[in-house]
Amino acid sequence: MKSVLGMLFFLFVGFVLQTTALPHFFLMLAKSTGLSFLGGHTIHLSLLLLLHLSFSRDFSGSLSWGVTVGVMATWFGLAWPGATLASFFLMSVFGFLLSRRIVLEGSVGGFLLTAGLVFFYGVFHTWALKIFHHVSVPLATQGLTILIQTVLDSLAAPILYWMLAAFDRRAMGEDHRTGTSILLPTAGW
C-alpha cells in the first residue's frame, strides 16, 4: 500500500514537473545555449515512471499502472486522449515483456531499453491519432520531436530508475515483483 501511494505521489509530482518546470528549464537552456531545438521539450517523467513500474511489477500490476498513468494524463491536458491512453497501455505491456526477455545491465542497459521504448511510444502515439481521432499525421513532421524526446528521456532514465528502485527497496523490500498491483495481486505472468 505504501508503495502504491508513493508511486501515485511520484506520478503526480512527475506530471506537475513535466508540464511546468521542465518545459521552462528547456526553454531557458535553448535560449542560453543557442540550441533552439530544445525549446518546447520536456522530460516525459510519467512515461519513464510507467516504464519503471512495468519493468519492476508483475503483469497485472504493469497493466493496471498503464491504465492509471493514462487516466492521470487526462487530468493534465491532452489533445488526443485515446491515442495517449492506448500508448501508455501498450508501453506497460511491452515494458513488462521486454524486462522479462532482456537482462538490464546497469545504466547503459536502462538507457538503451528506454530509448527503444520511448521511440516506439512516439511513433505509436502519432500513428494512433489516425485510429482514435481520424487525423492523419505524416511521421516526418513528428520525426525530430520524437528523436529529441527519445534522447532526453533516455538520458534522464537511469538516474530516475535508480531513485525509484531505491524507493521500492525501502517500501517493499527486495522482492518487489509481486503484490504491487493496484488491482488484485496475482501470481505473475
Binding site: P23, G77, A79, H125, V135, T141, Q142, T145, Q149
Partner: protein
Amino acid sequence: MKRILKPVGAAFLVLYLLIQLISLNLRQKTILRPSEKIIVWLAKPSQDLVGGCLDWAGGIWENYIALVDTSKLNEELKKERDGLRREITELQEVRIENQRLRQLLDMGAHGSLKLLAAEVIASGASPYERVIRVDRGKDDGVLQGMAVLHARGVVGQILTVLENHSDVLLLTDAASAVDVVVQRSRARGILRGSRPDELHFEYLPKAEDVQAGDEVITSGLDGVYPQGVTIGTVTRVDPAGEGLFLSASVRPYVDFRRVEEVMIVVGGKK
C-alpha cells in the same frame, strides 16, 4: 677638598645642562648644536619604535576593531544593492508584461471583440501534443471551442474547460485546423498543424495565387476564429503539390513555446 669639589662640579654640570635646555626653546634654530644632534640621534630610533608601535596599534584598531561597523555597513549596502537589482528586474518584467497586455487590449478594441485575459500556467501532459493550460475556466465564462488569441495572432481554441482553468489546443497541433485566406490574393484554404513551428495548407487549389511571403489571416468561416486575425506568412510553396491541391507551409507569428498571456474570445463579432 675632593669632597667639596665633587658636589660643586656636579652642580655646575646640572646648571650647564639646564641653561642649554632653556636656551633650546628661546630661539629658532636651523643648525643643531652637537649636543642637540646627539639627542636627536638618540631619539630617532625610539620615535621610530614608538611610532611603529602606534601605527601598528592604530592599524589594528582601524582595520579590525573599528571595521566591525564598516563590514556591517558593507553588508547592509550589499543587501540594498541586491534588493535594488531585484526591483529593477521585476520592474523590467512588469514593463514587458505591460507592453504585451497593452498590445492585447489594443487588439480587442480594434476588433470589437469581448476578450478575457488569461495566463499560461502549464503545458500539456504529452510532449507530442501541443496543448497549454490557462488560468481561466467555467467560473470566468469560458466555453469549449472559444478562440484563443495573442497580440501577434491566433493561438488556438479551448479544448477542455474546468472550474478555474482550461486547456487550449494550439494551432500547431496536428488535430488543429483553421479556415484562412491569403491576404494579398484572397485565396482560401485550411491550415493544419504540422511541425512545432509550422502550419500546412490543405485544400488549396493549384490555380490559386499563393507566394512565399504572403500574409495569411483567418477567414472567420470556420465559426471558431474571428475574421481578419493574423496567423503568419507563407514560407514555402510547392506548385507540384498533392493531387489537385498546392502544397504550402506557413510560419506562424506566435512563438507558441514562449506564450505567457493570451486572450480568450468570450464574445463579440466573429
